[in-house]
């Protein structure tokens, strides 16, 4: 582990400690939300953002694999899809907790909840496909094509569908109404959290792809 890498990891640790403290202790509860429910936005939005980013990286890595046919791109696509799936589950769980506080039930079949459920199933099928094909090259090719097709649905399911239908979900990030937008303190903590979660994901991606490379090397040695 080099010195810069080590320093960045400890910087991320301190950064997230400050973000967690600020999210609960520094920021006052936002108006228009029940109780302290608004604080979940500092964890829910970053997990949804990182999930989208991870699915995009998986799509790009899959395209690179189909172009170059190098196993490292297949590892990147699989690790990214796994991270995306994990973060999408976290976004769903934090969203359900928010729904319980604000709307009285964990699950309301709101367009956001329905669309993320479909997305989870699509990416769960990606791993079912990977585990069903034994030949590494065939597996990589099929899953790369599937990953690209799966990502086509992401903009629709994450951004378009929830905005076409009536949704209870607050839209504080993109709405133009100044009375219903985030104040500067909330925005600072939200952006800091987004940066922290993105940094954590880059680290997890790095560790995940290195593990896959070691596995690949060992399989080659056995053969």
């Amino acid at each position: 582990m080099n010195r810069v890498g080590l320093a960045l990891k400890w910087f991320l640790f301190v950064w997230m400690v400050v973000v967690i403290w600020a999210a609960f202790m520094w920021i006052p509860s936002a108006e228009g939300f029940k109780g302290e429910s608004s604080r979940i936005v500092f964890f829910h939005v970053p997990t949804a953002w990182v999930a989208t980013l991870a699915f995009l990286v998986s799509c790009i890595a899959s395209g690179m694999y189909l172009w170059r046919r190098e196993p490292k791109y297949d590892f990147g696509a699989a690790v990214s899809a796994g991270l995306g799936l994990l973060y999408a589950v976290l976004a769903t769980v934090t969203g359900a907790i928010f729904a319980k506080i604000m709307w009285g039930a964990y699950w309301n079949w709101d367009p956001r909840q329905t669309s993320i459920t479909i997305l989870l199933l699509i990416y769960a099928a990606y791993f079912a496909l990977r585990s069903a094909v034994a030949d590494p090259e065939k597996r990589a090719t099929l899953s790369a094509v599937y990953s690209i097709l799966a990502f086509v649905t992401v903009p629709f399911l994450m951004f378009i569908v929830p905005r076409i239908y009536f949704s209870l979900h607050p839209d504080v990030m993109t709405n133009a109404d100044p009375d219903n937008s985030l104040d500067s303190a909330h925005l600072i903590v939200l952006l800091a959290s987004l940066a922290g979660f993105t940094g954590l994901s880059v680290w997890l991606y790095s560790v995940g792809t290195r593990i896959e490379k070691i596995r690949h090397r060992r399989r080659q040695e056995v053969l």
Binding site: L12, F13, I20, W21, F24, E36, W203, R210, I214
Partner: protein
Amino acid sequence: MSDLTGIMAVTMIIWIGLFAYVYRLDRKVSRLED
């Protein structure tokens, strides 16, 4: 201790645990790479 402080403490423990796990895994992977 208020509910909010308790939730913050739990979130902090989860973060410290996650960081420690990934840090150890990272070091182990570095050793295996050498």
